[in-house]
């Protein structure tokens, strides 16, 4: 792989977003190319610096009051929703007797349409979730040129063995 090709892929390389074959090709190039190796190290240093400063700023923040504030908003929302439902109920009760069949027929028709469209069926199936939450993939080490890829059974991380060292995700 030439420098020009490798350079266009270095962001995706450090983010481990390349397909395995390309990941290995770029890793081989980076292991042999001083300039690309320096660029990768710079990208990793930038990652560390952004994390460092953001985590330092966030570490002193007291989060104990967050739920209290959210709960107050949730209470207000629920109260307003119940108020609306109460008003709607009172309006329905106030409808004159002869109007009742009209709105009842409308509701029945709407229910029929919903059933026809499947809206009244089973609740949606839970989508596949990413179990571990946000990930932090950063290439940490790369040494040598003889490569092989394997998946870590415990963490699910992709490990690329580059001979004397390894390229891993954390």
């Amino acid at each position: 792989m030439h420098c020009l090709d490798a350079r266009s892929k270095l962001d995706a390389f450090v983010d481990t977003e390349l397909p395995p074959r390309e990941l290995v090709e770029v890793a081989r190039h980076v292991a042999e190319c001083v300039a690309c190796d320096a660029s990768v190290k710079q990208l990793m240093a930038l990652h560390d610096a952004v994390c460092d400063v953001t985590e330092a700023d966030a570490s002193g923040v007291d989060l104990r009051g967050v739920w209290g504030g959210v709960e107050a908003a949730v209470d207000a929302h629920d109260a307003s929703r119940q108020g609306r439902q109460g008003r709607q109920g009172r309006m329905l009760r106030r409808l004159p007797g002869r109007s009742a069949p009209l709105w009842a027929a409308g509701m029945a028709m709407a229910a029929g349409v919903m059933l026809f469209m499947g809206a009244g069926g089973d609740p949606p199936v839970a989508p596949p979730m990413i179990a571990a939450g946000p990930r932090m993939p950063v290439i940490e080490r790369y040494v040598g040129v003889s490569t092989s890829i394997k998946k870590d059974d415990q963490t699910g991380a992709m490990l690329i063995n580059l001979g004397s060292g390894r390229l891993s995700r954390r």
Binding site: D11, D15, K41, A49, V50, T54, V66, W67, A73
Partner: protein, 190 residues
């Protein structure tokens, strides 16, 4: 292992307040950290965090589950951050020019181990952090968001694309641009 986000969402939709509290406690630190990264002000960030979760609760019925809960809550929080900055009139001006206040005095670098280990150089370490903060703050909100979601929250390109509702190619180009901007501004530190 705890309940999945989806299970908690389903329970919260049925009115289970504790389930929603579980979601808040699971993600409040990450959302606050993202908001601090965007706003650089812990008080504003806490306000945004609370508002984001309150909005999420109000719109739980609209959460379809085709994306993760955390990409959804990040999206709400990011939109609130951008709104907040617009209200405050604090959106940065972007320039491609590197920092122009350089001098020839050697400065400590982020990769210099002595900076991290030597207490005598804490002031320099603080300087590095200060310059890092400034450089991040000078990015546009869109570029700052993509950097924070990638570098701090560790989201994949696909997840960032879902969070920001932009194509994956846009995520890649914004990330590339934001990194080049930061590198240009922090050239002698990296």
């Amino acid at each position: 292992m705890g309940e999945s986000d989806w299970d908690l969402v389903q329970r919260a939709r049925r009115g289970d307040r504790e389930a929603f509290r579980g979601l808040v406690e699971r993600y409040q630190r990450k959302v606050t950290s993202l908001a601090i990264g965007m706003l650089r002000n812990p008080d504003d960030a806490l306000d945004v965090t609370q508002e984001a979760f309150a909005k999420a609760y109000q719109n739980l019925a609209r959460f379809k589950g085709d994306a993760s809960f955390y990409t959804w809550i990040y999206r709400i929080a990011l939109n609130l951050c951008i709104d907040h900055q617009r209200r405050e009139g604090r959106l940065p001006q972007v320039s491609l020019d590197p920092l122009d206040d350089r001098d020839d005095v050697p400065r400590p670098t982020i990769r210099d181990e002595s900076v991290r280990g030597d207490p005598v150089r804490r002031a320099e370490d603080a300087e590095i952090r200060g310059r890092m903060r400034d450089a991040i703050a000078e990015l546009t909100p869109e570029h700052r968001a993509v950097i924070l979601l990638r570098e701090v929250e560790g989201l994949s390109y696909e997840e960032i694309s879902q969070t920001l509702d932009v194509p994956k190619g846009t995520v890649m180009s914004r990330l590339h641009y934001a990194r080049r901007q930061l590198q240009a501004r922090l050239q002698e530190l990296l």
